[in-house]
Symmetry: D3
Subunit: 191 residues, 6 copies
């Protein structure tokens, strides 16, 4: 039987180095489960550490994009890249952050045409331009983002998150990473 989580060795929380066990443990406690991405990267602690640092630097940053907007970038580019793990896991987070049970499925299945307000559309268009055929990315893409009112700092955020998930999507494809079952249902009920 194939490994149910990753094509490569999986590391459980208790087998991680102290700093990572503490850090991932805090996430697991808050979520109620350990997201599989951490179990799949755990056999390379230095890479997992850098991954977490990069993730937090961009996704937990104060100011600029809202947290829902950061997740919007993740779900849109992961949808365009057909990354099941990132869509299911971050789709759950986007549903919660945006308090909208339908948005994630709409963004993930067709990021190019999902109906968004002007600012949301500009964020997604910028992210898709850099994500997909990045050799063509140019001044015109930046100009459209600026016209929609995005600041230079927000443009960097969109671009850097897009870049980070270009990496994450490929790590998930490399490992055939399975989403935790809990993600599928999170945030689907309006409260």
């Amino acid at each position: 039987m194939t490994n149910p989580v990753s094509r490569f060795p999986v590391t459980e929380l208790e087998d991680l180095p102290d700093d990572l066990r503490e850090r991932i443990g805090a996430i697991a406690e808050k979520s109620g489960f350990t997201p599989n991405i951490f179990r799949a990267l755990g056999h390379r602690p230095a890479e997992l550490r850098a991954f977490l640092d990069y993730h937090d630097a961009l996704m937990e940053r104060d100011g600029g994009l809202t947290k829902a907007e950061r997740e919007l970038v993740v779900v849109a580019t992961s949808g365009a890249n057909h990354c099941t793990y990132c869509i299911v896991a971050h789709g759950a987070i986007l549903r919660i952050r945006a308090k909208d049970p339908e948005l994630s499925d709409q963004v993930a299945t067709n990021p190019w045409q999902v109906e968004l307000d002007e600012r949301g559309r500009a964020i997604v268009d910028l992210a898709l331009a850099l994500s997909r055929d990045s050799a063509l990315f140019g001044e015109g893409d930046l100009a459209m983002a600026r016209e929609a009112g995005l600041t230079e700092d927000e443009i960097w955020d969109v671009g850097a998150i897009t870049a980070l998930f270009a990496m994450s999507n490929r790590l998930a494809h490399l490992t055939a990473l399975k989403p935790n079952p809990e993600f599928y249902l999170m945030g689907r009920q309006k409260r």
Copy 2:
């Protein structure tokens, strides 16, 4: 006039936080110049720090792929992604590591058909499969790598370096990053 290095603010060595100034300073001393990627990421120290950590975890790792093979992955995928900065900068390093003044240009201009030995070809094919249309990446790609003798650990290295430079390429496209002039000539003369 447009900024000659990046579309976003550039940070000089002396304006970096202490730990980064020391770390980048050591690189600059060894190279004789500060690679522009560090000047372009410096306005976001937490991101630069994570970038350096991730880079070192994969590119300076002991065992598995040789250093030249790691650079081969970078130049092949950056070539397929049309990333000028990464091709010029890492093309220089590959020339030096592989002690071959022609290899980098051949890999960067056509990674799909450049003549390589069986192991080199397997490394590049694996990297290209994950880099370009990663939704199609599957067991067949891994099987071909294993047949060519790559270990699971080496396969991870190829995949993770490919993923890291999927990110780097997009950061360079986001910033329209200019290669330092020194890179163009490095390693071009056989010694």
Copy 3:
């Protein structure tokens, strides 16, 4: 404000010709709501009638593919075509038919690599080959389906359902068809 269901006129159940009102009414009663595709096609009764006939001839047919397998073809090809309505609506039906709360999201987000048994993989591969770049469809695609044990009749079913949803996907894109909110949650809880 834009129309929340379709870019074109929407027809309510009570405004349909008698035969269609009865037919759609029966579906609505069973589902608890009128699927929006019928409201969007209703202004062209002759087209809606032919659509229903074609749909029933293929999706309600006895023998050959199971009903879950028929929905698998729909979700896989609609996923590859990025059709939000068809993914959300038929994703719900697939969850119910396959009694699997995770399968639809996995198929829709990455039909090329979702883990399926041999027969399921053959069905999806055949459907994707015909759906996406159908000019290349040839004997090799049929040979792989036959090797996996599909009969000629089953191959026709896969091909004809793929063709029907090549049409449906485009009707949904033409109208920017919104999925009914009920679909998002159907079949997500294991019973």
Copy 4:
């Protein structure tokens, strides 16, 4: 030897159910031969019936697009989809309807750049946008059609015919359907 008409069983006129024999018989009498698409679909009478109904609802509809314009949509999208049967058969009909012996070959070989009047160009551009990468189809495509004077009803016709032939093209590719020899020469002489 392979079947000269279809990869699947072919049904002759006399073996069809009564209603279909009568209906196809009338077409055969008018044309002088039975178009192969009907022989190839005949082993699935319910599907053939729905196909005919859908076809007639769109291609024989009064008002809106002219009959030549309807065929223009078919030949343009079938050309983009490389569907030999539909190009040869409907190319013949377009030559006759448009009273132009050269138009079909020009449209089929390069629908993107064939010289047409403004209305014809708008029809073909709309059809190609929906036919090829329909996930990107959006308000901009509709706006251009409206600017060229197409009514909402005409836009629906273009879109629905495009959708119908997205299906037909795939049925022809599934069956490797051969055009009847008579089609090749029809309408090639100016009268």
Copy 5:
């Protein structure tokens, strides 16, 4: 009104330099008309001369591929490149050389799947591999051609003719070159 033959100046037979007037004149006499490609290239005599020389060196060469096979390469690659002039003009020649009124339309509309004998299929596959995404062209393509019995000399012919029409197709697209009306009907009647 736009020029009916080319976007650029057109040169009539009598205005060509002596050597070209004689050479094109002989072709015109044999065909009954001056093919428009010569009128469109005539304003650059040195280029027209080299074009004719290259064309004759490859298309009139003794030995190796038959003349019909040479035209098969032209129609297949021009079909894949959507070049109206080359398809219509060389489609006429292929009909005559192959004594087959249907072959050209079948090859031009879908070169990937048109039914051909083994040798014909090998020729067309080799031509398409080099024509479309030539960066991927490699030893595998040559191996398949050799397995089908093509000699090294014949492989060169296929490759060089493909290359020549990669150029011709682009000249026709540059000029929006119109096919002469005579081409459309040539060779359509079996004799």
Copy 6:
């Protein structure tokens, strides 16, 4: 061992027919070596002769584009086509003609976004439009070139050079042509 220069027979200078030996000899004397393209085409003297004539008619033409601009077209389109030989050989010539040691690598690795002045950008955009997906080439591409001040004659030059190297790139891919080692270093030092 495979042939280090071409997959097909290579002809040395002294084995060429007189006129070609003289002509290539003059180039070899000036360069200090015989460019491999001539050795690879030499086994087909009529084709080599036409190739040289076409090349000289376009690349040595007086008036219109400067010689550096002609090489810019070659390097940009060869970069987009991933043609190692043409990039390395003409990259060398462009460095010399443009007196710029960095330009060629920048153009070859990303012709779509390399920073150029308005005229240079218009030349490269026109060349890329015709080179890559030439079926879409149309009036809009010409209009942009004219707006940037290109004359009709210069537009022809750009288009015809692009067409010529669509051929050359494919000949190099057919033969797996190796660049002469001398090209790699030419023009890399500012004088």
